[in-house]
């Protein structure tokens, strides 16, 4: 199962001044379905404010990104193969589903692409000693 190193991810995001600057108009909660574990990611003015780990009973979110565990595992490799190297590539090949109100996602698409790619630089929890 893919485990997201949540704290490391948040730290990478919030210490990236250019990323948070580009996301300064982004305040939204989105659901990240990693194929077994759901995360509610609360973004406030471009910073990851809080990440809640599911399961959830009544989650409230603006949009959801859903993909199976193996799709995220491929996407979060340091050097992902063709088709797993970009969120829209995953969408194109039917590995990713985007649900909900996508306006904030599309209006800030490069921000979200870069944010979601950050775990490539964070070791997965499962691989930690």
């Amino acid at each position: 199962m893919v485990m997201l190193a949540v704290e490391r991810w948040s730290s990478l995001a919030n210490n990236d001044a250019w990323l948070t600057q580009r996301g300064r108009y982004v305040s939204v909660a989105f659901l990240l379905d990693t194929g077994g574990t759901d995360f509610l990611v609360h973004i406030h003015r471009g910073r990851i404010e809080r990440v809640e780990r599911g399961p959830f009973v009544m989650p409230a979110w603006g949009f959801a990104l859903r993909a199976p565990a193996e799709a995220w595992a491929a996407f979060w490799q340091a050097d992902p193969p063709p088709g797993s190297h970009d969120l829209l590539a995953m969408l194109r090949f039917g590995k990713l589903r985007i649900e909900g109100d996508q306006h904030v996602f599309m209006a800030n698409l490069q921000y979200f692409k870069d944010l979601l790619a950050l775990p490539r630089r964070a070791p997965a929890e499962g691989t930690r000693a």
Binding site: H85, H103, A107, L109
Partner: protein
């Protein structure tokens, strides 16, 4: 202080061409460099001829080819036609074919090689079907007979989403991950500079009007050779799409370019040239045997 060194100009000369297309006056920006066999380059949707800057600066290329590229109407430095503000832009196969042929005629090009990428890679299939004898060879980059839209194209042109930001972000993943940083972001920059609705209007041709699946098997590569090259990271026109196209056209084959995506000539010009040179050598070879 006055500098004594000569200005470091590139060999490219850019000019504005006045011509009529479908009876309407147009002002198109045309760049060229080099001498020899005319090689006309067609840019991708929502971009312009700057994508070919690597070819235009390659001394070996310029010693054998007169490299030419023009910006489609509304793109780059070409003007939009009169009345552009009164109707939604939607590129059609007819308009695109006739624009290319009008430029070929206006420049007096004798059987040029035409190389197009993406929508340009599609239109060379139309050119092969309709005007094969007018060309020495056709080269389709990121070429497929059809493309299914894999995202809602409405996002590309709406007042509450910045067009430059969204167009750049849409195509950013179509650039292969390992290309030079400067070329990656220059390629994306071109998309960010595109006018409102231009990329979306081009994609009308790419995803709907330009569907040529029913006709590609009639392409006669004896009348005009056709070469197909596609980047392995391209998920708009995938390597599988190009292979499928090649299987349906006798006498052509798909070459899959490693480490490249949907904009090979722009995202990593040197790597792309390593794939293009053998193709152009074959074009010249065929010329020599005539």
């Amino acid at each position: 202080m006055t500098g004594t060194a000569a200005p470091n100009f590139e060999p490219i000369v850019g000019r504005y061409l006045r011509l009529a297309i479908h009876g309407l006056p147009h002002r198109l920006y045309v760049e060229e460099a080099g001498q020899g066999v005319p090689l006309l380059c067609l840019h991708t949707a929502g971009a312009d001829s700057r994508q070919f800057r690597g070819l235009f600066n390659d001394a070996e290329m310029l010693s054998r080819f007169r490299v030419i590229a023009f910006d489609l109407p509304r793109h780059g430095k070409s003007s939009p036609p009169v009345g552009w503000h009164k109707a939604e832009y939607r590129l059609s196969s007819r308009a695109y074919v006739d624009t290319v042929m009008s430029v070929v005629d206006a420049l007096g090009l004798d059987r040029p090689v035409v190389m197009g990428c993406s929508i340009g890679g599609r239109i060379v299939l139309h050119l092969a079907l309709e005007h094969a004898t007018r060309f020495r060879a056709l080269i389709g980059l990121e070429s497929a007979a059809h493309a299914h839209p894999y995202y809602d194209l409405q996002w590309l042109h709406r007042p509450d989403v910045h067009g430059g930001e969204v167009c750049g972000a849409i195509v950013s993943g179509l650039v292969a991950p390992s290309v030079p940083e400067a070329d990656r972001w220059e390629t994306i920059w071109h998309y960010m500079q595109s006018g409102p609705g231009v990329f979306k209007g081009d994609l009308h041709f790419y995803t709907a009007d330009g569907d040529v699946r029913a006709r590609v098997s009639s392409i006669d590569t004896k009348a005009c050779p056709l070469y197909l090259l596609t980047g392995e990271y391209d998920y708009s026109c995938t390597p599988a799409d190009t292979r499928e196209l090649a299987e349906r056209i006798p006498g052509t084959q798909a070459v899959i370019m490693e480490g490249l995506g949907h904009f090979p000539m722009s995202e990593d010009p040197q790597r792309f040239l390593s794939y293009l040179r053998p193709v152009l050598a074959r074009v010249l070879e065929a010329e020599g045997t005539k």
